[in-house]
């Protein structure tokens, strides 16, 4: 039995919506907190780590918004379960690597999650669809306040909330959003955006892929500084910058559609062609092509209801979801996964009408295509 049965069904997750969710897929705010008298998890011996775990798990489970949710020690989870949680952005990759003495608590709505003994004793996060940073902050702020009524947390008037790594010191806050920026990537402007945002003390990085590559044109923007700025200031700054990136992305799409419609139609049409007809496909290629399908929905080449289908495919073609949902085997090899992934994609896309530029009206039919 897999943890998937205790999580919201994929069909439900893929129908979640929020403001500006064409471009801002999700918003997240997380806080780092520690107990004042025990060593931080990375420096603690097993006994102290267990002490922190045993003190915190019951308290966290008892917090109002988390009551009736899921609480699991990491040691009880299989590697596949852990990978599923990472693919859902419920726990961090670092936390998934933990075993005895670490755990997590998730609320029923899957909008709040507390990791116990990650890098800090507590990592509490609030996750919402679309651009909802202020709401995400309000939710986690309230949870944190409730927590602090139950346990003392490490705090110094000078340095604020004390954390294992000084990069989190002060507010302990990390505000981030996941952005889909195919327009800026196609227009070759994303490098400029990354540079500009970097100068504001924020970081932009590819969400998937290594180094500078950003698979699926997905990026994460987050604050880097946590000391010397208040939480609302940080949230406000991120929101403003994200709104500007959003505007740049919209402009890039508009300009591509105006100047090079044929290029855009070509990208989307080919993405559909490959996804609907391949017999083996890697997760990397899938991510990149699904991104173009999202773009196809956004610019009107595909009917709007296709968005939820693309969301679903985005989730179920990731390794752990793929294996859990579509295979009875204990463990799949990478090649077996690629075949299975293509089977799922062909099946799901068989009923989808192909992208049609005539949906766009005269703009699409004229299509001189300037390249």
């Amino acid at each position: 039995m897999s943890i998937l049965e205790h999580l919201a069904p994929v069909s439900e997750v893929s129908h979640r919506t929020g403001p500006h969710d064409k471009i801002v897929l999700s918003s997240r705010v997380r806080l780092a907190r520690n107990l004042p008298r025990l060593p931080f998890p990375g420096h603690a011996k097993r006994g102290d780590r267990m002490k922190a775990y045993e003190e915190l798990m019951p308290v966290v489970q008892g917090l109002g918004p988390l009551q009736g949710g899921m609480a699991e020690p990491m040691e009880r989870l299989s590697n596949l379960d852990k990978q599923l949680l990472v693919e859902r952005h419920i726990v961090s990759r670092e936390h998934a690597a933990k075993g005895t003495g670490s755990g997590f608590v998730l609320n029923r709505e899957e909008s709040l999650c507390v990791m116990v003994n990650e890098e800090d004793h507590l990592r509490m996060q609030s996750l919402r669809p679309g651009l909802q940073l202020a709401a995400a902050w309000a939710a986690i702020d309230a949870l944190d306040t409730e927590l602090q009524a139950e346990v003392d947390v490490a705090f110094s008037p000078r340095y604020g909330f004390l954390t294992a790594c000084p990069t989190n010191l002060g507010t302990g806050i990390r505000v981030s959003a996941m952005l889909h920026l195919p327009g800026l990537v196609l227009a070759e402007q994303v490098g400029q955006i990354i540079q500009a945002v970097g100068k504001l003390g924020l970081a932009v990085r590819g969400l998937y892929g290594e180094g500078t590559e950003a698979l699926g044109n997905l990026f994460q923007v987050s604050n880097q500084m946590t000391l010397g700025e208040s939480e609302p200031e940080i949230v406000e700054k991120l929101s403003k910058v994200i709104l500007q990136i959003l505007e740049h992305e919209e402009n890039a799409r508009k300009s591509l559609l105006g100047k090079k419609p044929r290029t855009l139609f070509n990208h989307v049409g080919r993405a559909y062609g490959i996804l609907a007809n391949s017999h083996t496909i890697s997760s990397k290629e899938t991510l990149n092509l699904l991104s173009l399908m999202w773009l196809g929905v956004d610019i009107g080449l595909l009917p709007p209801e296709t968005r939820a289908l693309v969301n679903e495919l985005f989730l179920v073609t990731q390794p752990a979801h793929l294996q859990c949902l579509f295979s009875n085997k204990e463990k799949l090899g990478a090649e077996e996964r690629d075949v299975l992934r293509s089977d799922v994609l062909r099946d799901r896309l068989a009923r989808l009408e192909r992208p049609d530029h005539r949906r766009l009206g005269p703009l699409g039919t004229e299509g001189p295509g300037s390249d």
């Binding site: 520690n34 004042p36 008298r37 025990l38 060593p39 931080f40 990375g42 420096h43 702020d141 944190d144 306040t145 602090q148 009524a149 947390v153 490490a154 705090f155 110094s156 008037p157 000078r158 340095y159 604020g160 909330f161 004390l162 954390t163 294992a164 790594c165 000084p166 990069t167 010191l169 002060g170 507010t171 806050i173 402007q189 400029q192 955006i193 540079q195 500009a196 945002v197 100068k199 504001l200 003390g201 500084m225 946590t226 000391l227 010397g228 700025e229 208040s230 939480e231 609302p232 200031e233 406000e236 700054k237 403003k240 910058v241 500007q244 740049h248």
Partner: protein, 210 residues
């Protein structure tokens, strides 16, 4: 006009910043601008909105070698200070040594922040916007007398519960961006003062104890 950095090529990129009531400008050739990462127009569209940050960007360029989080204290050397603090102490509670802290960049427990405090400040300066906490404070901790931490150079006590930025501040920020946009720097400096005053009077998030 020659480039202020290489003093060789013709300056084609012109930047302006406002420091207090002063407007300062920086003229760079294309090569140096690119090298400093300020050549793209998109970047400055973003920077204009957050005036505080464009100041840091320019500060970083004008005072090379420093993180330029605070352009008012330019070029404070990092190295000697760290060396002075490297006296090989150890945290009495968790056993973390100073050497280990320097190597990993992590602390072992909350007590470490007191033990390595001095060495820490120089690290924090390059890392964050400030070296003192501004933001949420646990209930009942705000006015704790005789706090164990060294509170020298404490000009402003940490604020109470964070207050959201009032809407008129947003308007001011927009006005500021607009003034900078039409290169009316006199007006921009005035708006900037108004923002500062509002922040000081406690309407901004840094107020509270003031």
């Amino acid at each position: 006009m020659e480039c202020q950095v290489c003093k060789q090529r013709e300056a084609t990129v012109h930047l302006t910043q406002i420091v207090d009531d002063d407007t300062r400008s920086l003229d760079l050739c294309e090569g140096c601008a690119k090298q400093k990462g300020v050549s793209d127009p998109v970047g400055f569209a973003l920077g204009d909105l957050l005036q505080d940050d464009i100041t840091s960007v320019l500060g970083a360029i004008m005072a090379p070698g420093k993180g330029a989080k605070d352009p008012k204290e330019p070029g404070e050397p990092k190295e000697p200070r760290e060396a002075k603090d490297a006296k090989g102490g150890q945290c009495g509670r968790c056993g973390m040594s100073h050497a280990e802290f320097k190597k990993t960049g992590r602390l072992g427990c909350s007590e470490c922040y007191r033990v390595f405090g001095e060495a820490l400040d120089s690290v924090l300066k390059g890392m964050h916007k400030g070296v003192r906490h501004v933001g949420k404070v646990p209930a009942g901790k705000a006015q704790e007398p005789g706090a164990p931490e060294p509170v020298a150079e404490a000009k402003d006590q940490p604020a109470g519960v964070p207050t959201p930025i009032p809407p008129d501040m947003e308007q001011l920020a927009r006005d500021l961006a607009e003034a900078v946009g039409r290169e009316d720097f006199e007006a921009a400096a005035k708006i900037r003062d108004a923002i500062r005053a509002a922040k000081k009077s406690g309407t901004g998030a840094k107020g509270g104890a003031a």
